[in-house]
């Protein structure tokens, strides 16, 4: 775990299996019939991505991914979906050309980038021996309080604003009788 120097190179079987499972779970998010299985697939995707980080040696990123993404954001999604108890939704509205066009654009972009990946020598060789201390918690946190000090503070304010906003939204729910109901 503390070797420090790892040679970049071929992908191993573990990474391939985890990556493909993550993609399968991502397809599950889009294609599930019920919203709950979508949310659970989202959780699976986020969790499996964390394993990709672990395989890279980026332990701190993996832990943050599990703790915040899988452990908090995905829980929120599952929670809200269960709370609202949604009916299975329609997959897509037919006859909306713009949406179809955009979906086609997304697919085309994917195809183009994957085709580009096949070009040999596209990426710079990079550092043959990648130094894992650059991905350690210490290096990242040092980066936070030196290079990214201003964005760090700004993110703090953003989260404060989000907390206040959520509290205000939650308070507005409490008295629905006073508000005019919208059309269904």
């Amino acid at each position: 775990m503390s070797e420090g120097i790892v040679v970049m190179g071929q992908v191993n079987l573990f990474q391939v299996v985890v990556g493909i499972l993550a993609l399968a779970a991502a397809i599950g998010v889009v294609h599930s019939k019920s919203a709950v299985s979508s949310a659970l697939s989202l959780m699976a995707t986020l969790f499996l991505t964390a394993f990709l980080y672990f395989a890279k040696g980026a332990y701190f990123a993996g832990v943050v991914q599990v703790l915040i993404y899988a452990g908090a954001i995905a829980v929120l999604f599952v929670f809200i979906v269960m709370l609202l108890d949604l009916k299975p939704s329609r997959v897509a509205i037919p006859g909306q050309k713009g949406v179809a066009l955009l979906a086609f654009a997304a697919t085309a972009m994917f195809v183009v980038v994957v085709a580009l990946l096949a070009v040999p020598g596209l990426f710079e060789p990079g550092l043959q021996e990648s130094n894992l201390t650059a991905l350690s918690a210490k290096a990242i946190s040092y980066n936070f309080v030196s290079t990214y000090m201003l964005p760090f503070q700004a993110t703090g304010f953003l989260i404060l604003a989000a907390i206040v906003g959520v509290i205000m939204l939650a308070k507005s729910v409490r008295s629905p009788s006073n508000e005019s109901r919208g059309e269904p």
């Binding site: 332990y59 452990g71 908090a72 599952v78 929670f79 269960m82 918690a137």
Partner: protein, 359 residues
Amino acid sequence: MTPLLWSLFLVPLVGVAVLTGVPVILMVERRGSAWLQRRTGPNRVGPFGLLQPMADAIKMVFKEENQPARASKFLFIFAPVLAILPPIVGFSMIPIAQPFTINGESFAVQIVKSDLSFLFLLAITSLHVFAVLIAGWASNNKFSLMGALRAGSQMISYEVAIGLCLVSLVVSYGTLNLSEIVTLQGAGSRLAFWGFFMQPLVFLIMWVSVFAECNRLPFDLPEGETELVAGYHTEYSGLKFGLFFLGEYAAMYLASALMATVFLGGYNIPFVSPDQLVSFVEGLGLYGDQATWVASALSAVSFAAKVFFFMFVFVWVRWTLPRFRYDQLVGLGWKVLLPLATINLIGTMIFSFLQKGAY
């Protein structure tokens, strides 16, 4: 013996230790509750009723398994598995005894020796809530769903307080490595370095939050019998219920082990530093490696005693305090514990800045 081989040996050892600990605390809970309430308690199976947990386990294995109609089959089976995995995996991060040496080479009694073990532990335990949510959803029963939603909001609320406690502890210890935290607490054979004396407020907040995280009384709203039948595991029976039960008690063991590690000096024996312990054993006539083996075993006993102390308090509180109301529970988490933890964090930061200066 290589370190890898030792870790592989340690994995089943720790797993079995946790799983055998569950019947022990079950017995303590049943006899202890009877003692606290001036009843007799189960005393028919075996001498003094000691085989009662065994009988319970056998009953659970042979019970018929029901599956509610129109429930999601995969998720219904998946939830109990998810309930037992995180607490047992979490034990891989806990340093259980002080390191011993074989031919001068040091072996730590900890399965995963990571610099981020504290964070790893919290990350794994944060997945426990999924088991509850999935179980409640997959049961296709409104009481189960209500219990699951209660459990979800409760666990998320108290995780915030635990996260802030973690930051306070990290500021005062300066590391996220649990074995380093234990080493720091054992230094100098004084109790003053124990987390309990360094961060008493954090100790209190975390203790209360741990009760909520484990869904134990006085915070067992997710399974409040008078309101929700049995909460999220109403529809479960037989072995699947057994897994939930095991998972709940394993989570309590993990929480107790974490509290003992972070606040009560882990495997350290009070007033005795690890080196003093080794030299004490050497004074009994053992030398070299063997002295470290015995010292390691003694420290493991000390750790187990601390864990059992916390486990006993779990039982004690369960049979002493009544259940909270739901708004009281959430209010305690957000309006009392969270501000207290924040104030403590700011205080810790100021103190640490005055002590160490800017980095």
